[in-house]
């Protein structure tokens, strides 16, 4: 599992060592080589910690969520803007947002571990932090399986492997249950709309496609090149989705839904199968993806009831 996440630049020696690490994780006694913790990050570099991390800075809201979920929330000393879940995360010092990192502030927090996110942090910033002598663990989860693996890996680094393993197992079990219940029902054509002006969707490389397929749907735009492509209304008309799923953000959902009412030729509009899911659940590669999938499956199930009776 750890090996799978490695980048191709990894040397054979490192791969061997990581394979060994993976084994020890599977045996459940953590990775302790003479009391030293080691983990390969998603860039292929191996992070070595002398002891479980006590002062962690998280550079993405979902990494904050994972740490709290595996019982290591008290190790956090700084977090990214929008780290609003769970409630306790709101109190953490803010070290930056999507466009900047306050490197000076991060240094002054004296972290012994920095959790980076390759999808959201600037590579040059992560590099600078590494050059400053800080331990930067770069993560790049793309799938539901990656999230479960990441929970375990962060459990190792923070010394919470047992809780982390349990939580990861519960996460996997919940996904499995949803797949079993909904995955093989009649396939529905689903259009997932991230944003409505312009209309953004997500392609097959994004976890949302996994959620849709796990619930027995087909992402009509899964084949597009870019991860978050802008699509035209015409393209949506042609794809003719049976369900449109979009974000629910406080009171915004009514707005994007009402914009679709002018296009009754779309099956989903005619059948009034426009559903809203809290945007944060889908956008964050954390434990709440289970809630996202649950909401997705319920929406698709409701649509099936409407079409098939």
């Amino acid at each position: 599992m750890t090996v799978r996440a490695l980048s191709p630049h990894c040397t054979p020696a490192a791969a061997l060592r990581i394979a060994f690490l993976a084994l020890t994780v599977i045996w459940g006694n953590g990775v302790s080589l003479g009391d030293v913790l080691e983990q390969a990050d998603d860039r292929g570099s191996v992070i070595t910690l002398p002891a479980p991390a006590m002062r962690v800075v998280s550079l993405a809201p979902h990494l904050t969520e994972i740490l709290f979920d595996i019982g290591a929330g008290d190790r956090l000393v700084g977090a990214m803007a929008f780290s609003d879940f769970p409630e306790a995360a709101r109190l953490l010092p803010r070290v930056g947002n999507y466009s900047y990192l306050d490197l000076e502030l991060i240094l002054s927090l004296k972290p012994d571990l920095i959790l980076g996110w390759r999808g959201g942090n600037r590579e040059s910033d992560l590099e600078t932090l590494g050059n400053l002598g800080l331990s930067v663990f770069e993560t790049d989860p793309r799938t539901l399986e990656d999230v479960a693996a990441l929970m375990r890996r962060l459990g190792v680094l923070t010394g919470h492997l047992e809780t982390a393993s349990n939580r990861a197992q519960q996460f996997e079990a919940a996904i499995h249950r949803l797949r079993n219940e909904y995955g093989s029902r009649r396939a529905l054509r689903v259009f997932y709309q991230v944003w409505d002006q312009p209309i953004y969707t997500l392609n097959g490389n994004h976890v949302v496609t996994q959620l849709i397929e796990g619930c027995g749907g087909i992402n009509v735009f899964s084949g597009l090149q870019s991860v978050s492509p802008v699509v035209s209304i015409e393209a949506v008309l042609e794809a003719d989705p049976e369900v449109i799923v979009g974000p629910r953000e406080s009171d915004q959902s009514a707005l994007w839904m009402s914009r679709w009412t002018t296009w009754p030729t779309v099956t989903a509009v005619k059948g009034e199968q426009l559903h809203a899911i809290p945007a944060d659940l889908v956008a964050r590669m954390g434990p709440r993806l289970v809630d996202a999938m649950d909401a997705m499956c319920r929406s698709l199930a409701a649509a099936r009831t409407h079409y098939d009776g």
């Binding site: 803010r94 900047y100 306050d102 000076e104 240094l107 002054s108 050059n131 400053l132 991860v227």
Partner: protein, 335 residues
């Protein structure tokens, strides 16, 4: 108004020492301001290798490299501005306004998206700047004469063309790279040292243009006059073209397209020291460096803890100055 009456070399010394003091003050300010509170004493101790770990890291690894980069970018842009103003005989010429930085940025983006090695990026930046300048020269030349408005219009249209190309490249590039690039495209300084080749290019350009300063003075008076005095204007123009392109490439690879430094600084310095390039060039470079160091510091503390792109600050200063110059030029018949 002539600055006659006083000893010119004494005046020159006084001006340059004043500007050097300004650069030092700017550096000192920029080393002590930021998210982490440091006193002058802390910063000085860190510089001498005696500070505590946090102060040393903040000063030596974050603030000093960024401030030195600002110095290099600022002086490169100021000199590029001076050179372009001689070449085009127009005081409104500036690598950003006339699209040179944009052309450079486009080729850098293309090189990065194509996965070109790091060593190729500066070459791409230089080539982009050169292409843009040559295009400008070819398109804006009307029967051998430089019409001011035609030149500006051509440059501005070129710049917006490059801007459109950049938007296109960003739209089709993989999503992950975009965030970093967007910030860089607004003009953004990272905590990295300027590096030897960049400092080398800027120093070499300074030396060369000081050697050629008298020729630049002649060329600024007009092509015909310069030629009648025996100057090989073609060769000089080529040297200016290459120099300005290399300087723009230095600035763009370090900080992205930062605007208006090459416009504002030479203008201010002409008011202060007069049009003689022997003095105008070194003083513009010092003032440009000081301006960018202070702009970079302002960008860090104005909206703290959020950091603004430094190009936003220089635009806030540069746009009103540009408009003012345009107004004055219009009322006098030509800028």
């Amino acid at each position: 108004m002539k600055h006659a009456g006083k000893n010119p070399s004494a005046r020159r010394r006084a001006t340059l020492s004043g500007l050097i003091v300004l650069v030092v003050i700017a550096l000192a300010l920029s080393l002590t301001r930021g998210s982490v509170d440091l006193s002058w004493g802390d910063a000085a101790a860190a510089l001498m290798g005696k500070g505590n770990a946090l102060a040393s890291a903040v000063v030596l690894d974050l603030r000093l490299p960024r401030a030195l980069s600002a110095l290099v970018v600022g002086s490169a842009l100021a000199l590029a501005g001076v050179l372009m103003q001689v070449l085009l005989r127009n005081p409104l010429a500036d690598p950003y306004v006339l699209g040179t930085s944009g052309g450079s940025a486009v080729l850098v983006l293309i090189a990065m998206m194509a996965g070109a090695p790091h060593s190729v990026v500066p070459v791409a930046a230089g080539a982009g700047a050169l292409i843009s300048m040559v295009l400008l020269l070819l398109l804006a030349r009307s029967s051998g004469d430089w019409s001011s408005s035609r030149l500006l219009l051509t440059g501005i249209v070129l710049a917006s063309g490059w801007g459109a190309l950049i938007s296109f490249l960003l739209s089709v590039s993989p999503a992950q790279q975009i965030q970093g690039m967007l910030f860089w495209l607004m003009g953004d300084l990272q905590p990295v040292t300027p590096g030897w080749w960049r400092s080398g290019v800027v120093l070499a350009a300074l030396m060369l243009s000081l050697i050629l300063a008298r020729d630049l003075n002649l060329l600024a008076e007009g092509d015909l006059r310069a030629r009648s005095l025996g100057l090989r204007t073609g060769l000089l123009r080529l040297a200016i073209l290459l120099g300005a392109s290399a300087l723009t490439a230095v600035a763009v690879t370090l900080a992205g397209p930062v605007g208006f430094v090459g416009l504002v600084i030479p203008h201010m310095m002409r008011l202060l020291v007069g049009p003689d390039h022997r003095l105008l060039i070194p003083s513009s470079m010092l003032a440009g460096g000081a301006l960018l160091i202070l702009s970079e510091m302002t960008a860090r503390i104005l909206w703290a803890p959020q950091q603004l792109p430094v190009g936003v600050i220089t635009a806030f200063i540069g746009v009103p100055v540009f408009l003012l110059l345009l107004q004055k030029g219009a009322s006098r018949g030509r800028p």
